[in-house]
């Protein structure tokens, strides 16, 4: 056994830790689900006794999903309702004395608020692009500030500031009492929860606007992989990891993206038996999207996935994954298809140009075009690697002959693959932090036309197998 003790991989250790955490999270979720019924009953009776019906029904309404096909007037009035509700919460004299209707309420409100902002912007852009509904164009043209990005960001930032949530989280990080810095507002659950989920809301809004680095920066004070507050609300947990993973992917930090997606997908697969409710239905779609994104990331950055993920991935996207991993021009449509199906619904923050419908390109096309450039840059890497793996030294011109390309082209591919196999990977601190890690198991260097190739061999992993069989027989 002593032979195995040197030269372990730190990556594996991290995996082990997060495994333990996931177990804890899953257990925590199970508990929660069992108590859920009781919570609701308590909340219900208290609100009946203490609060006026009016404000409670407004709070409840704010968390209610708006029908996607709702007419424009409804979308406008919904915006007005949010404005007056947030105005009441933020700008009354001192903190308002309200209990949130339920534990999930704060998340639901922020979630719905951003969802409506998102779908309004998409809708407005579509109306302008199609340019055939004069009536709606007039209405939209006259109200450029309705669901404006400044007002949405203003709400989110105000909730964060009022609740001093960043200060509270920073204190918790230092193992200090958060209440000491919470202030009048932040000590109330209503504000604390709204503030907290506003941070995650910001992550989402920045990502929708294509600002991926700022999206990750927003989460500086929130510790992932810990028993974070968001983990207690399944939808929030899920959303956070989706957007963090996606932002990482767009920053070309595929290893980090895979880590995020894997974490949440494993969590979902472990808890899905306890979630026979509506919340779970909405998750199923995002779940598939994340598998698609993992497929993309793995194509960029081949790595060993968790067994559960790997099996599910092969079930859902087996054919596509194979094509992605093979690379070359044939893989391009698959990359595009999966990206379209699983990216967030990007929006453009400003009102569209109603006079020039052609200028209102769907933001998705824009982000996709940029992403596809990166895909094209990389598309020969799998081919190059599959050949290099077979040799320890190889003549560049000979290999170029095999691949039927110009030697100079191949030299470029080799440089590209080498560059792309070096990635920034998170180790500690903020999400934007990280160290450059050579990720490939394959390494090479060119000496004139001679390519020297070396492979990092992974020793057989015996312990898992040994333990599993021991547990079975003993």
């Amino acid at each position: 056994m002593s032979g195995f003790q040197n030269g372990g991989t730190p990556a594996r250790m991290i995996d082990d830790d997060s495994d333990v955490e996931e177990e804890a999270l899953a257990a925590d979720y199970r508990e929660q689900v069992q108590y859920e019924g009781m919570d609701e009953m308590d909340g219900g009776s208290m609100s009946m006794a203490q609060q006026t019906d009016d404000i409670q029904s407004r709070l409840a309404a704010a968390a209610q999903p708006l029908d996607f096909s709702a007419p424009l007037e409804v979308k406008f009035s919904s915006y007005d309702n949010y404005c007056s509700l947030f105005h009441f919460i933020l700008n009354s004299e001192g903190p308002v004395d309200l209990e949130p209707p339920s534990y999930y309420w704060a998340w639901d409100v922020i979630d719905e608020f951003i969802y409506q902002f998102n779908s309004f912007c998409s809708y407005r852009n579509r109306v302008a692009r199609q340019g055939n509904n004069e009536e709606e164009i007039t209405v939209l043209r006259e109200a450029p500030n309705t669901w404006g990005c400044y007002s949405v960001l203003n709400v989110l930032y105000s909730l964060i500031q009022r609740s001093q949530i960043n200060e509270q989280l920073a204190a918790m990080k230092r193992n200090e009492e958060p209440m000491a810095v919470a202030g009048d507002y932040g000590s109330k659950p209503l504000y604390r929860m709204l503030g907290y989920f506003s941070i995650i809301g910001l992550l989402r809004v920045h990502c929708l606007l294509g600002d991926f680095s700022l999206a990750l920066k927003t989460l500086d004070d929130i510790e992932l992989n810990k028993k974070a507050m968001f983990a207690r609300v399944m939808a929030a947990h899920f959303t956070t990891y989706y957007y963090v993973g996606f932002s990482y992917m767009m920053m070309r930090r595929y290893a980090d993206a895979i880590r995020m997606f894997s974490h949440i997908l494993i969590y979902v697969s472990r808890t899905k038996n306890f979630q026979k409710n509506a919340q779970y239905d909405s998750i199923t779609k995002k779940n598939d999207q994340m598998y698609a994104l993992i497929a993309i990331c793995v194509a960029f950055h081949p790595t060993r996935l968790d067994d559960t993920i790997h099996t599910a991935l092969r079930e859902k996207y087996g054919d596509q994954l194979l094509k992605l991993q093979r690379g070359g021009p044939e893989s391009l449509p698959i990359f595009e298809e999966l990206f379209r199906a699983s990216c967030p619904k990007f929006i453009s923050p400003t009102p569209p140009d109603f006079d020039n419908p052609e200028l209102n390109v769907d933001p998705l096309e824009h982000h996709l075009a940029i992403f596809m450039d990166e895909v094209k840059t990389n598309m020969w890497s799998p081919t190059v690697k599959s050949y290099l793996r077979l040799y320890t030294t190889m003549d560049l011109k000979k290999l170029a002959g095999f691949l039927e390309v110009e030697p100079e082209k191949l030299r470029g591919w080799l440089l590209v693959n080498k560059q792309r196999s070096r990635q920034i990977r998170w180790t500690d601190n903020g999400l934007l932090d990280g160290e450059i890690v050579g990720s490939g198991d394959l390494d090479y260097a060119m000496q004139g036309d001679l390519i020297h190739i070396s492979e990092a061999k992974v020793g057989r992993k015996l312990v898992d197998w040994y333990l599993r069989n021991l547990a079975r027989t003993y």
Binding site: F4, E358, D362, I370, L415, V463
Partner: protein, 245 residues
């Protein structure tokens, strides 16, 4: 080795204060950021995170947009390839910016056609750099006067790119034909000799240029082995005590 994405060693305090506060959304700070971009161009330093904040302000307030600043930011981000900075900046530009000129030039009212043309040209450069088609990069750069205009504001653009190219070469190359390297660096003769020897610290031996060994270009094989901890066996050992056979 690792540096957070939002960190820039040369960032002045007042910029840092804006970036960390809500003033990053204040349209009045565009002037400050614009001035900062000029400084970066003149003094050969680079602050991606601040530049993205400026592009975000433009994104929210299109009427404040200054085309020149946008192209300067993009040109600056070329000098740090193969990092994703150029793409991250593109993501914040208006969605129609990459649609081919034929579509947008058909519109007389499209006031920013020159900007989209410039951005698309720069995107071509970026893709050439990303694909390590360095020779094609230099010939493209020379092929159109517009490129000279676009890169004019960035002091030492050629030199910065050259250093960057040299860096990527040093990661994968131990020896390289002089002629290949000349085309990659876009220079010949004495200037080439001087750059290779003084800036890169490489040796020229006849027609071959030798790059000293470094961590990246030695390509040493390794075996990754499993790290076994005692705790993994705790359950097995416990059972051995609980159920003496």
């Amino acid at each position: 080795m690792g540096v957070p994405f939002d960190y820039a060693p040369d960032r002045p305090e007042h910029i840092d204060a804006i970036l960390n506060g809500l003033d990053r959304y204040n349209p009045e700070t565009t002037a400050v950021f614009q001035e900062y971009v000029v400084q970066q161009c003149d003094q050969k330093f680079y602050d991606c995170y601040a530049n993205l904040a400026l592009l975000k302000l433009y994104q929210f307030n299109p009427h404040l947009t200054k085309d020149e600043t946008i192209t300067n930011i993009l040109v600056k981000s070329l000098t740090v390839f193969p990092s994703p900075d150029f793409s991250l900046a593109l993501h914040l530009l208006p969605p129609h910016i990459l649609t081919p000129a034929s579509a947008s030039s058909a519109l007389p009212a499209a006031g920013d056609a020159p900007l989209s043309e410039a951005v698309q040209k720069l995107n071509v450069l970026n893709n050439l750099l990303a694909q390590a088609s360095y020779a094609a990069f230099w010939s493209t750069l020379d092929s159109d006067d517009l490129y000279a205009d676009l890169t004019a504001d960035v002091a030492g653009f050629d030199e910065l790119i050259r250093i960057r190219i040299a860096l990527t070469i040093s990661q994968s190359v131990r020896e390289i034909e002089r002629s290949v390297l000349e085309s990659w660096l876009g220079m010949q003769g004495d200037a080439f000799d001087k750059f290779v020897k003084d800036v890169c610290g490489w040796e020229i031996e006849g027609t071959v240029v030798k790059v000293p060994l470094n961590k990246e270009n030695e390509a040493k094989g390794t075996v990754v082995r499993e790290n076994v901890k005692m705790e993994q066996f705790s359950r097995v050992i416990r059972r051995a005590y609980e159920q003496p056979a």
